[in-house]
């Protein structure tokens, strides 16, 4: 009888072929899975055609998957794309949130010698005291250039402690350490800036005494390297050593006054509307006004938004994704009464605006999560985009029940101003739900450093609706 004897080579060959197939299938599963990450729109109420007049686009970034998804809504149609093995958003898609506006309280130049004489040095800190101080504003623009302006003098009633470190984030010169003067000049100030055409516009308010409150155009700002090469003009005494420094009281960069609204009390926001500059401000009578300004700094149109709102109010800018629109949410009467103000340049080039109550959708829950508010060109419909979350209760052992929520996407509501009702509601499923775990995870369960890299998975996720609607390109 013939006994069947298999050669070991055949077994190996079969195993190898099967393995290569498995790896191929694994790769196919990954590719299919990446395509499945595309954002979907789930119609829930009303006619999908109600989305026709709106343009919306968003990028979602998934840390664990190392992927970015792009979604665009145009002519009522949803289109999407997945960018695998990519974690950086295109530059024009990321919000310019790296504007920095910092008040530094330093010593007046004429007091420098006296301060240095009194200086004592211990550890790596030099301490001294000064009475006449200068308030400098260091403004860092999103393009990573900066300028420093001397906005006010400040005479202290009695000597204030000043410090200097050889190396610290604040650099190497005397400044006030602690709370002194922070009431009037808080370290971080309001973010009043906008890019208008080729130039950066910044808003200065009443705390700036040496520069008139108003809208200023940045005419010169220096990069980090350029700041490094500025000549030193002062000294700091560190014990026995005297170190040459660039005084913190030295200005660099320059601005020119562009526009001052009439009877200005406080600038709230500056925005662009088509080719115009818009300034939302409060005047000395307590009214909220909006000025539309052209490139010659003349006010084309002034609108009275609210009359005498007092001092207890808040103002938030809401993204519109349209160049000819701007939207603000004002919380009046200490935040009990929310108003939505949507401004738009109409076809004839005129500014027109509407004002709506914040609890438009009856449930009142829409407003806090509002991400984008957009008006249709004919002005009849409004699109509200707000983050949607799922509520869950987690009962951890020996702990109280935590009420948590995880994101599931964005709610799109189309509101008809004529009918005063919601005509469409849908859920933009960005795939956010797959990160639910990171919202309920036990926070003590964490590794750092190399162990963190090797033993844990970061499931961070976020969605960005860029200010300008995007065409779906990436810097690939």
């Amino acid at each position: 009888m013939h006994t069947k004897k298999q050669s070991p080579a055949r077994g190996l060959a079969v195993l190898a072929i099967v393995s290569v197939l498995v790896l191929g299938m694994g790769t196919a599963v990954r590719m299919v899975g990446l395509q499945k990450m595309q954002t979907r729109l789930i119609d829930e109420y009303g006619d999908h055609q109600a989305l026709q007049p709106f343009q919306l686009s968003a990028y979602s970034r998934f840390q664990a998957e190392n992927a970015i998804t792009f979604v665009a809504l145009e002519n009522g149609q949803l289109s999407g794309q997945v960018f695998p093995e990519q974690v950086r958003l295109p530059e024009n898609a990321s919000l310019p949130d790296d504007f920095d506006d910092l008040n530094i309280i330093t010593i007046a130049p004429e007091e420098r010698d006296a301060v240095n004489q009194k200086a004592s040095y211990s550890g790596n800190t030099a301490t001294s005291s000064a009475q006449s101080l200068w308030v400098m504003r260091l403004i860092t623009l999103p393009d990573n250039t900066s300028l420093r302006l001397h906005i006010a003098d400040y005479q202290a009633d009695e000597p204030v402690e000043v410090m200097s470190y050889p190396a610290a984030w604040s650099g190497m010169d005397w400044d006030v350490f602690g709370d002194y003067g922070r009431q009037a000049y808080p370290q971080w100030t309001s973010n009043l800036y906008v890019r208008w055409g080729d130039s950066w516009m910044i808003g200065l308010n009443k705390d700036s005494i040496l520069y008139q409150p108003g809208i200023w155009r940045v005419t010169e700002s220096l990069s980090e390297e350029e700041v490094q090469t500025l000549p030193t003009d002062g000294k700091v005494q560190y014990g026995d050593i005297s170190v040459d420094v660039l005084n913190k009281s030295t200005e660099y960069g320059s601005v020119e006054l562009f526009y001052v609204p009439q009877n200005l009390e406080e600038i709230l926001k500056c925005v662009t509307l088509d080719q115009y500059l818009g300034v939302l401000y409060q005047d000395t009578d307590g009214n909220i006004r909006f000025d539309l300004v052209d490139e010659n700094a003349s006010c084309l149109q002034q609108e009275l938004i609210f009359q005498d709102v007092g001092t207890e109010y808040s103002c938030t800018q809401v993204n519109t994704q349209q160049a000819d629109q701007s939207c603000f949410v004002l919380g009046l009467h200490q935040g009990t009464d929310y108003r939505i103000v949507s401004l738009q340049i109409d076809q004839s080039g005129k500014l027109e605006w509407i004002d709506l109550p914040g609890n438009l959708l009856n449930d009142g829950s829409l407003l806090p999560g509002t991400t984008v508010i957009q008006r249709s060109d004919d002005g009849r419909y409004l699109l509200f985009v707000g983050r949607e979350e799922n509520q869950i209760q987690v009962d951890r052992a020996f702990q109280q029940v935590d009420s948590l929520s995880y994101p599931i996407g964005y709610r799109l509501n189309v509101y008809d101003l004529n009918e005063k009702d919601v005509v469409y509601s849908g859920l933009l499923d960005t795939g956010a739900a797959k990160v639910w775990g990171s919202y309920v995870k036990n926070p003590s369960f964490m590794f750092y450093g190399l162990a963190g890299e090797l033993l844990s998975l970061n499931r961070d996720y976020y969605t960005v609706f860029p200010q300008e609607a995007q065409g779906g390109t990436t810097n690939d």
Partner: protein, 261 residues
């Protein structure tokens, strides 16, 4: 070619039992750790990929891959009694056929082991997800989204490295495995103290090579191709390749000597 095939198959015959045992032990520990951690209340919110990472399977995969290399090289282990290079004396082969066969064998074993990991992950996904789902039901009131295997394979850094979706990235995976195969063949060619040295150098290559695979993936996804990072990658690659070159020299010397005997 036929001789190469015969040599590979003979060596496969010699190592297949320990190799299968290794795969089995690896699978068993993975299943045990995944199920144990999925059953814990503390891991609430961790899905398959998180659990996989949490119980150290990413570094363990590369450690086991190194053991696969040693297993492939063990085909030529002779217990110290007889001459190591028995094949060269008993078979009419060119001496270079010997490392060539070992390279091929080691490459195949690495591919099989990698595929084994994909299979394990796919198979374990279902019981692990069911178990962690049951634990979650007891702790969470409210709806939780249903996950999918697609998501969990994509979220796993190991598969992002080993199953690249961009064509060019395959070169790195194949290059990594080839480098390890060469190291394995070098271990097979040496004996005694040299073998221990070769094993150490192979360990360096495996560790540093895995690191460079990881770094390259990071650079690729972050679009961080800058001169500083490139230099770092080049240094790490050098640290992976240099031990391989050292070993290669030592292995060729061993082959030369064996023929002289």
């Amino acid at each position: 070619m036929k001789r190469l095939g015969r040599l590979v198959s003979w060596h496969w015959h010699l190592v297949r039992r320990p190799f299968m045992l290794l795969c089995g032990v690896y699978g068993a520990q993975q299943m045990a750790l995944l199920l144990l951690s999925a059953a814990r209340k503390e891991t609430l919110g961790m899905q398959m990929a998180d659990l996989f990472m949490g119980c150290g399977q990413l570094p363990l995969f590369f450690v086991t891959l190194y053991l696969v290399l040693l297993t492939a090289a063990s085909a030529t282990r002779s217990g110290g009694r007889s001459h190591m290079m028995y094949t060269l004396h008993t078979m009419p082969f060119s001496r270079l056929l010997f490392p060539a066969a070992q390279i091929l064998l080691s490459l195949l074993l690495q591919i099989i082991f990698t595929a084994w990991q994909v299979v394990l992950y796919t198979v374990f996904y279902f019981p692990v997800t069911a178990l962690s789902g049951r634990v979650a039901v007891g702790l969470v009131s409210g709806t939780l989204p249903a996950g999918s295997l697609f998501e969990e394979i994509n979220a796993n850094p190991l598969f992002q490295m080993l199953l690249p979706v961009r064509g060019g990235s395959w070169i790195w995976v194949i290059g990594f495995m080839l480098l390890l195969s060469i190291q394995s063949a070098c271990i097979a060619c040496c004996r005694g103290f040299r073998r221990a040295a070769a094993m150490f150098l192979a360990m360096v290559t495996a560790g540093v090579g895995a690191g460079s695979l990881y770094l390259r993936y990071y650079i690729e996804t972050n679009k961080a191709w800058e001169s500083g990072v490139n230099l770092l990658l080049l240094l790490i690659l050098g640290a992976a390749v240099l031990p391989a070159l050292l070993n290669l020299g030592s292995a060729l010397w061993a082959l030369y000597r064996a023929e002289k005997l």
